[in-house]
Subunit: 287 residues, 4 copies
């Protein structure tokens, strides 16, 4: 499967999280501990929103860098991470479940101001693919450039109103996948942790049809982090709003990382973050 | 647009046609003369059927080598061409018309024993894509791995019976594209030269809705070639059945290369080759 | 050969020069007008110094992005250029003169705070290579990661004191190449336009043994540019210190672009820029 | 480090050894068991000598295919292996010890009819590199295209007469490395298993300065293999001369795979193979 990381908070250099932690995302590309595979070597991607502090005229759309080689040896990624500062970024390392290793299959995916990344899979995707493509809003279909289930899920959600109401749209996407799977007699339709953002807020989802979802963790509040890592100069200067969400913790879990509960989603935003059950949205979507 | 070459005849090393001629396909990747662009640097591919003479137990399915870099600098292609001998091979250099430069968008495409390559484009493909995807035989749709019009045309034709009757299936594919374009008010729907093969025979098509099709040439009979190039050791030993079909000639045209007429197709096979009008097949397909 | 661009001045988005001008560097990758080849498709690179306005804690070393595919199709480069703002950057598109197409052969090259890029060639480089490697400061030799003459020239110059006195070090490098060539009986030893920088100043050189050097142009003062392009919002807001140096102009030459004279070099810096003859430095180096 | 495989015997399809065995070389790219790392994802290469049975006019020089992506996802390698038949081939999966991931750093390396591949490292290579480059036969130095210790070792050996007397040349190379390391105070200079061939014979070496060399195994005689794998159609038809040499066994070791003893080399050839101590050659080289 894959591993991902989403960051929201004080602008920091990407490599503070991609390279420097003990069990950084790049380390996870070789030695993931909580995934089905230890190895995530089938491509890497980062998407970042510009740091607008002190600059004017910058574009507000996110930037993408995606590469098909393994993350651990990517010299461009290393330089980029050491020079790009962002208040909101996504990073993803891929372990292909069968679809080709190509740039258009690397996460994050982008649509206008929106980013999307996914860990997991649609069961029997090859069999369900056509019906799911037909369920995509017709005007959006030609924008699908790769061949992954993840990008298709993104475009389903976009068509279901992701830009207006992310939890409702993601719930409708989940129901669409599960109904299509049911029609084909495919059990355990969906396995997913997903992150999406418009540059202002960030939504993270943990869900699977079988209620045995891939792991997902969010960071403790920054004050606690600061006490846990008193010697880390970055931790001590972060804004209290700062939040990190990851497939697996970047270091010792105790006190620093909390699990997103099964079938829940979080909203990371200015002001109080939220952690909510998906169930009401799924119930509404099924109606 | 693109340039391609199809070879049928005595087993020869690929580089006899890819590298050695004065205006070889690799030379055309930098300096095409008859295309819309002089440059075809967005990927390269070769597909070859094994040379079964003297070997047993070899697979009969064609092999593919496809690479996203420009053909002129591909060291793997150069070595492969200098070492692989084949009695039937396709080679293609790509100039993207907008779809991503990735391996799954490189020609030739393969389905079982069948190869397919294309030069040209479907007009307003982005707009027509969804309707055309829906017209693909449902069981075949998930096999589409890239995002080109060319691969979609191949899968339309496969669903229309390419493996049984290539000219009829290609004619139905053409009609499908033209009808879909008409429905959307898109003029000049299709521009194509196409080659396809099952390893036994080879079909080449030249067609465009506007009847101003891209160039396509076939080689004169081998005896004439031998007289034209008396010093070429390869030309003098080729089987009389040998035929080369190309987007543009590999050298001086005079006496060596004949144009495939507008809206026609050729069948290259053991015994007499054929050159026939597409019109009757199109008329049948429209019924 | 190659084409390059060096920018010094008000922080701007890279794509203002890489993509937007009529005859931008990316356009030159397909359609160069003044080079030996029209095609520069063997890799691309950008090196940029961080924009320190409004940010603190940023690294002061330059960042590199180098890719082996053609510049015109590089989606990562396009996104990077649309999001990275820099007051001093280099960009280079490569046409290999025989050395492999690989990331370590792409320009710019970096050593600490220094960047270097080159258009041209050392004559009979294969023959002279060993003697030139021996002339590199021993401690620097293992830092050479690729196989180009350009990177070797950079390391020769570094060993000759590039970081203390760029014109003197470049002159010594030139003499070293010319003396080595003379020893081997190789005429017309060197052909070069070179740019180098430490992030504060920028030096550009135009030289060839035969005094028929590749073209090199610098932009007119910004006020004149502003009058020439009254509708360009970027041109009108640039700092008067701003200077662009290019292998070939990015648009109509008249009034906007001045040729660097044969065997001269320029210093682009805060305050008055300088344009000086290389001759005195060469004379000193030969002593 | 790396893993490699060398095959000599009846012409077989490459995928019989690269993909089909339980613990094939491609499987080892993800899950090596006896290496320092389990992961060999920094490039892959195969070199093969043509199968001349039944064909004439084929080139006698070996072909190379080398790619920088991980072996497990390389679609070109998979197709090549399923279609290329060879009586003598090398395959190598790379785990970089610091040098860049690029095609010219992938094994095998080639010089005329000769192939070379290596697992291991020269200690403190960065420090010793210059002196070792100086020890390369001057005319050969410019042929070094990459930056690995392995390619440098090959060129040292070539200069020391590899093409005339491989064991003597390899012994001189070893002494050169060890003497250079001693001069610099570097302990445990060399760690290597090496395979080299001219297309007629194949030499394999196992050596390390500290006498704790990487593993190396050769296959039992073909009759025993046939009894061990009675159901394998390929094993039962192999010529008795057939021999496989591998960094780690392709399946259960018992009865099928024998370790090359420390500081020994083997000669695989028509007629009786040989397994000999390196010591006498090293003693002679040191004189």
């Amino acid at each position: 499967m894959c591993r991902w990381l989403a960051y929201y908070g004080s602008p920091i250099l990407l490599d503070e999280l991609l390279y420097k932690p003990e069990h950084s995302l790049i380390d996870q590309s070789r030695h993931a501990r909580m995934g089905v595979e230890t190895l995530n070597g089938d491509g890497v991607g980062v998407g970042w929103y510009p740091d607008l502090s002190g600059a004017d005229g910058s574009p507000s759309t996110p930037a993408l860098f995606r590469s098909t080689g393994p993350a651990w040896g990517d010299m461009n990624l290393q330089d980029l991470a050491a020079h790009v500062r962002s208040p909101l970024f996504f990073a993803h390392i891929r372990a292909s479940t069968g679809t080709p290793v190509q740039q258009t299959n690397c996460h994050p995916f982008r649509h206008g101001r929106w980013l999307w990344m996914h860990n997991g899979a649609i069961a029997s995707f090859h069999e369900l693919k056509r019906d799911l493509l037909l369920a995509v809003e017709p005007a959006l279909l030609p924008d699908i450039l790769g061949s992954t289930d993840s990008e298709l899920m993104f475009h389903l959600a976009l068509g279901f109103g992701l830009e207006e109401d992310p939890p409702a749209a993601v719930a409708r996407m989940i129901c669409q996948v599960e109904e299509t799977a049911a029609k084909h007699g495919v059990p355990d339709a969906l396995q997913m942790t997903v992150a999406t953002s418009d540059g202002d807020r960030m939504w993270v989802f943990r869900y699977s049809t079988a209620r045995r979802s891939r792991t997902l963790f969010f960071s403790t509040d920054v004050e606690t982090l600061g006490r846990l890592y008193p010697d880390d100069p970055v931790m001590s200067t972060l804004d209290p709003e700062t939040r990190i969400v990851v497939s697996e913790p970047l270091g010792p879990r105790e006190g620093a990382w909390n699990e997103v509960p099964e079938s829940c989603f979080g909203v990371v935003q200015s002001g109080q973050d939220e952690l909510l059950p998906l169930q009401p949205y799924l119930a509404a979507a099924r109606r």
